[in-house]
Amino acid sequence: MQPAVELRELCKSFRVRRPRAGGLGRRLSSLFAPRTEAVPAVDRLSFSIAAGERVAFIGPNGAGKSTTLKLLAGILQPDAGEVRVLGFVPSRQRTELAFQIGTVFGQRSQLWYQLPPRDTFDLLGRVYDIERREHARRIETLTSVFALGSLMNTPVRHLSLGERMRCEIAASLLHSPRMLFLDEPTIGLDVSAKAAIRELLLAESEREGRTLLLTSHDTGDMESVCERVIVIHQGRLLWDDSIGALRKSFLTAKRVTFWSEAERLELMLPGVRVVASGTHRTELEIASDVTPLGQVVDAALRQSSIKDMVIEDAPLDEVIRALYAHAERGCVT
């Protein structure tokens, strides 16, 4: 089966102006003959995504995520390498591809601000050549799935950010794209609006078998929606596997909280660090590859009887941070 997305050795660099050092003459000459330098944004990036997969595409700021998304959508042209999205070459078949993909940019809007979303939906129906009856049917479905109801007839400027985001996603799905690119779809939303968007994305993708490629700095988005994570750093592939595998590989630390009879536990074990403590409560971070968890529990039981205990993985944020730190040290291949 043909992959939904296939990148091979994709490269893209941008020319950035560099000011000339020196006197006024040199600075003036920069105005007419600016000195530029090629800065790689995407560097020999290769990966593929199967149809129906939900993939998180993450990286620190400036890693090349947005550039990659623009290359996939055909807005930018690659310098070298190959890209195929749903069988199309985006840089040459942008219009044909546009009918097959949808895009959601969390900090941008495609809705006409003074008008109700319905007007933008009608415009998009024309732009995507959707047959009139099919258009009405799609609006009905999306209104019901995304609980748009009265929002459809409320001017966009009166909608909350969460309501607007639901409308934005629905608008991007109007032409039933086979693939959806999402760039920070929950940015700026409150906790409940984020949860609602994540649930909708997951449910919609599962129901329609739609391929998702999601970039986000919010690990909650990837954990809730995606099954696989691709991490890039300085335009290069850093990690490509399941979220579970990422945790296992980069997370040897566990968080353990003890509620003990003794006021305080003092565990002098290698790889064990007290993160927080209070009366009868001790929170530890344990490097389980140094001291296995069982040994820590045994040591705690030797000091005091334990009333309760909670063992947690460190948050995914910390996993990602560890991964970036490894990359900075050049440890990840």
Binding site: F14, R15, A41, I75, R94, T103, R108, S109, Q110, R126
Partner: protein, 266 residues
């Protein structure tokens, strides 16, 4: 832009329709322009009357001059300031949605601009002619007005294309207002906004003839003066030629902007 299918026409008509819907919700600006019409025509009709009363010779009929001004202002005020909308779309980054859609960005913006024109032009036209009649108690022959209207529509379309071109400069510039300000001033002077170019010194007339501004304001508005100096076929030819030049400039600028985007990022 050259080969348009029925589907393309339907898409651009949809952009025009949504711009009309938007214009109907933003009536404040339209009302403002209507008030401006009353003020400017009131001031100038009083001015020409005062000039006439002092016995100073002016090489034009004061009543025809008021109708000339109504015509130039009608054309100018009917063109929406789409460069501001385009600039904001680019600044906010919303343009990324537009560039990804299966529709020409340039044509969509132009169609939206013409949609706004479709809403404004009839209202402002009625206002212009009513004010001009109110202040002069005179009208040009109906045949003259009927001949003028299609040329006025073509001139407004050229103004929309000019604003579109200015808007696309926002791909490079943070603020296109200085460019707009400069073209407005050139338009006032070389377009003959307040006074027909025939009342200008000869060297100014020669300089104006090298610019597109006279075909946008002076020449079509001169039809209203009924002097017979404007030949409609020549005006139509000039509008087509300048329109083609404007289209080429807009397309070239857009292509340069897209090339810049892919070379310099954004």
């Amino acid at each position: 832009m050259c080969h348009m299918t029925l589907s393309d026409v339907a898409k651009h008509a949809a952009y025009a329709r949504i711009a009309i819907a938007q214009g109907r919700r933003e009536r404040g600006e339209l009302y403002g322009r209507m008030v401006f019409f009353v003020v400017i025509l009131g001031v100038f009709s009083s001015l020409w009357r005062a000039v006439g009363e002092t016995g100073l010779a002016i090489a034009a009929d004061p009543k025809a001059l008021v109708w000339y001004l109504a015509a130039t202002e009608w054309i100018l005020l009917s063109a929406p300031q789409i460069h501001i909308e385009i600039q904001e779309t680019i600044r906010r980054g919303d343009v990324v949605y537009r560039l990804g859609q299966p529709a020409s960005f340039v044509m969509a913006e132009f169609a939206a601009g013409m949609g706004a024109v479709a809403l404004r032009m009839p209202v402002l036209g009625a206002m212009a002619f009513a004010c001009a009649f109110g202040f002069t108690r005179w009208t040009p022959p109906l045949a003259t007005i009927a001949l003028f209207i299609p040329f006025a529509v073509a001139a407004v379309a050229m103004l929309v294309a000019l604003h579109l071109w200015i808007g696309m400069l926002a791909f490079w510039m943070q603020d296109v207002a200085p460019v707009f300000w400069l073209t407005q001033k050139l338009m006032f002077i070389f377009g003959g906004l307040m006074l027909p170019l025939t009342l200008y010194p000869a060297f100014m007339q020669r300089a104006a003839a090298l610019t597109p501004f006279p075909v946008m304001l002076f020449t079509p508005a001169s039809l209203m003066r009924g002097t017979g100096a404007v030949r409609p076929l020549i005006l139509a030819r000039d509008l087509v030629l300048w329109g083609a030049a404007m289209t080429a400039a807009v397309q070239w600028t857009y292509r340069r902007a897209m090339a810049g985007l892919t070379v310099n990022g954004g």
